[in-house]
């Protein structure tokens, strides 16, 4: 294939058109409409179409990206009533015979999208982790000694938002896309082009996000340089803060679209494309966890999008969604009032709470599957597990006001929200019952993945119990806004989702890359992660109890000891994650070749050869039993397979 054919359309042509789009959009607004001087470092330029220029630039950058990667061709041909692509063209879109270049373009093959997600989310995780190391450097000693305060606040904001966006996607993106269709016996996702566009939205969203450190950090202190708000972007401070907020808002908007599109795709795929015999009660728990997460993403993300759009409108068009009529400098900036500061809290947390369950549900599902495989036992309560997962899904929409116990908003509702938040520990507890029961009297094979499952149990237990303290209103009054909260949610998100992700990557690495990750390096990185993680966040619980607020660049010497321990431990955690990443990269290139089913698992993805053929199955299997039935007689073959009969070829 000629080079032009390879590179156009591709991510490279997309990047070129994106850059052109940004330059054209921003320059048009700044020069033609605004007529401002070109020196953006000039304080006089700020506010004078500066934001509008960036936003129009970002919009045209996004449009340019989608045109450049060739994503808009088929929607347009469909709208114009032209012929739909035939099977050969669809195979071409899926990257058939394209070699490595198919990973650098709009490709519909779910396995390619899965690998793209893996690389993108691991890159996001690396940058988020870099932000964490910078935070812990500043907090190593009191006195804001490493970064100026406005820079620190911006780092805190960027670390938080980037990690949230990473964890939203890092399970359902790589594994939801690569593994789940094979797991349910399908040839691809229900909407392959939507799949390709979901990763494209994430990539361009992250490109916009990357602008933030370069926007406004040199601004005068009083306007709040950089982005001072924390990831919760409360509208009051978000309206005021530096120009980076426009990039953050737009990036979050794009990433939100990516998440919702992916969610719809996954739910539809599971409902409509299961192989014959793959009833809902025969699906591996990983699929259920991903569905629960996708339901929350599909329903909840809109609330955040609305919050972000209102913030951008307040900033650019001087609407007043978040300001009641008050005195102070906001009146002087042309805000007319009539809004409500509580509105931003409610809009944010209506999304924000289901959000955190979105983050952990895929890990719940995976850890249950992995425990079953590595204990050689069925799940101790398949329906119990489903009850647990869906109890969490439903209740997660009914608890958000526990983030507002001290806000003064409708205090009479606090009793209800205390009850609902405490109630959500019941379905979560069922997951623990299933896990403990599954490993009981099993044949425990201590792979690195199983290690991460035990780490999950330990960490989520601590995270969950400390969450109960926060659910109690009198205790929360004392603990809200402090480092106790930070330690709690890191125990649940890092200890829950990240441990699940690291275990899942080690587990599915052989199927996705054809090679095994190194076990020795795996265990060393595992222990470094456990010691570093627990050291850092247990110390953080301690300084939280002592009275340290969160998101502070400087702190009283009272908290110096705990912070020092936390920072040193965090550096160990960071180094260990880097070691794990090294294991991934090295093993990808030079690890031992993997057999077809190295773990002896019973789910469908292990019945296909590696590398997985383009259309996954030669013939769609007919499934005759569940994914955990180790006791049923297996077909005599070198590799244990679930009980499937080769059915007729479909399609």
């Amino acid at each position: 294939m000629s080079w032009t054919r390879k590179l156009v359309p591709s991510y490279f042509s997309g990047a070129v058109l994106a850059a052109i789009g940004f330059i054209v959009g921003s320059q048009y607004v700044w020069r033609v409409i605004g007529g401002v001087n070109w020196n953006l470092n000039d304080p006089g330029a700020s506010g004078n179409f500066l934001e509008q220029g960036f936003l129009v630039g970002f919009i045209l950058m996004t449009v340019g990206w989608f045109i450049g990667i060739g994503a808009l061709k088929y929607p347009f041909t469909w709208m114009l009533g032209m012929k739909d692509p035939d099977h050969a063209e669809e195979l071409r879109l899926a990257g058939k015979d394209d070699g490595m270049i198919r990973y650098f373009r709009f490709t519909t093959d779910h396995k390619v999208v899965g690998i793209q997600y893996l690389v993108v989310t691991m890159t996001m995780l690396a940058f988020g982790g870099l932000g964490a190391m910078m935070i812990r450097t500043e907090l190593l000693f009191s006195g804001a000694w490493a970064f100026p305060k406005e820079t620190y606040n911006t780092i805190v904001t960027m670390h938080g938002m980037l990690m949230i966006l990473t964890v939203i996607s890092f399970f359902v993106g790589p594994f939801g896309n690569f593994v789940i269709p094979i797991m349910i016996g399908a040839r691809d996702m229900a909407f392959p082009r939507l799949n390709a566009i979901s990763i494209a939205f994430l990539i361009i969203g992250m490109a916009v996000y990357a602008f933030i450190p370069f926007m406004g950090l040199g601004d005068p202190l009083t306007t709040g340089a950089g982005v001072q708000t924390g990831w919760t972007i409360y509208g009051t401070l978000a309206d005021q803060t530096g120009i980076g907020m426009d990039a953050l808002g737009f990036a979050v908007f794009l990433a939100g679209v990516s998440s919702q599109v992916g969610a719809v795709n996954l739910i539809t795929t599971v409902i409509t494309m299961r192989a014959p015999g793959m009833s809902y009660t025969r699906m591996p728990m990983t699929v259920w966890g991903a569905i629960g997460s996708s339901i929350l993403a599909a329903l909840g993300t809109a609330s955040l999008t609305v919050d972000v759009v209102m913030i951008l409108m307040d900033r650019v068009f001087r609407t007043s969604f978040f300001f009641a009529a008050t005195a102070g400098d906001f009146a002087n900036n042309g805000y007319i009032g009539g809004g409500s500061a509580w509105l931003t809290q409610n809009l944010f947390w209506f999304f924000g709470h289901p959000e955190v369950y979105l983050l952990v549900l895929p890990a719940f599902g995976f850890v249950m599957d992995a425990t079953s495989v590595f204990a050689r036992k069925p799940l101790f309560g398949y329906k119990t597990a489903i009850l647990g997962l869906f109890g969490v899904v439903v209740l997660s929409f009914l608890v958000w006001m526990h983030h507002e116990f001290v806000s003064g908003f409708l205090p009479e509702l606090r009793g209800f929200y205390m009850a609902s938040t405490e109630l959500i520990s019941v379905p979560t507890g069922l997951i623990f019952l299933v896990l403990l029961g599954t490993m009981w009297k099993g044949r425990l094979w201590m792979t690195v993945t199983m290690g991460f499952c035990f780490a999950f149990i330990w960490s989520f237990l601590i995270g969950g119990i400390t969450g109960i303290y926060l659910s109690d209103v009198p205790a929360d009054v004392q603990l809200h806004g402090g480092m106790f909260v930070t330690a709690h949610f890191h125990y649940t998100i890092v200890g829950g989702s990240l441990m699940g992700f690291l275990g899942a990557l080690y587990y599915w690495f052989p199927k996705m890359t054809g090679r095994m990750m190194d076990s020795k390096i795996g265990w060393i990185s595992f222990w470094g992660i456990q010691i570093g993680f627990n050291g850092a966040f247990l110390a953080m619980f301690y300084v939280g109890l002592q009275g340290m607020p969160r998101r502070v660049a400087d702190y009283s010497p009272l908290f110096a000891g705990g912070n020092f321990v936390a920072s040193i431990s965090a550096f160990l955690l960071g180094a260990s994650v880097i070691l794990y990443f090294y294991n991934v990269i090295y093993s990808w290139k030079a690890g031992p070749i993997a057999e077809q089913n190295p773990w002896g698992a019973k789910t469908l993805e292990w019945t296909v050869p590696t590398p997985v053929p383009l259309e996954n199955f030669e013939k769609i299997p007919v499934v005759t039993s569940g994914p955990y039935n180790y006791g049923e007689p297996v077909a005599p073959s070198a590799v244990p397979v679930p009980n499937v009969e080769a059915g007729p070829a479909l399609g």
Binding site: M439, K441, L461, V473, P474, R551
Partner: protein, 268 residues
Amino acid sequence: MNSRGNLRTPIILWVVCSIALAALYLFLAPILAQAGAIPPLASDVADNAYYIMKIFTLLSIPVFVGVVVFAAYSLFAFRSRGKPTDIGPQVHGNAKLLAWWLVASFVLITVLYVIGFNGLAQLEAAAPASALHVRVTAQQWIFDYTYTDYNIQSSTLYLIDNQPVEFTVTSLDVHHSFWIPEMGVKADAVPGELNTFVATPNKLGHYTVRCMELCGVMHSDMNTNVIVLSSSDFGKWVSQQMSARPAGIASAGQLPEAALLDASGKRS
């Protein structure tokens, strides 16, 4: 490792370790509190909050120990050497265990809820008529206090020992949060809204206010002093303030520019 295992060992371990950990906690908690693990408590609200937290800790100990013991026991008793050559018992669940687990969970959270509800009722009790009224106004990046009973403004918060105080908290610009760690007093300062909190200090001394909601660059520096005085000392301070007040001072609610008054009420 025998791969049969038994239920008795982990259950005994569970009971013994729970009791031991609870005893250790009860022994260590006052020592750690003295050493600064929690702020020195100085109000009825704080006493209540930490009392509740103590009960929650004692109730969580068996939960925590139970999961850890059973997981660790499984790890030691059922571990296979390398890839397993046979499979475990094909047990799909246990309805009775599930039922008991659910019952125990609901009982536990009901207990937690009742404790919390009681504590909440205390928090929501209205301020008595004799309460001192303080209006807390937050703005980037200071807290300012107005004693609406006396029409006095101060940048240091003076309170009366054993007398209830009702804080009415608001903000002039962005979200802040007014927190006195030692007193368990926390109320978000939300622009355009009034947030009230009632507490009764019960120890003389010097305390600190911290801002608990990220509010911009100087968020970490929004600390002010709190001094709890006896009733007579407070009265002295009030009369000092009222006599030192220059004629024509702005009425309560507006801030004089650069209003930084030191402890004796003089402009610094």
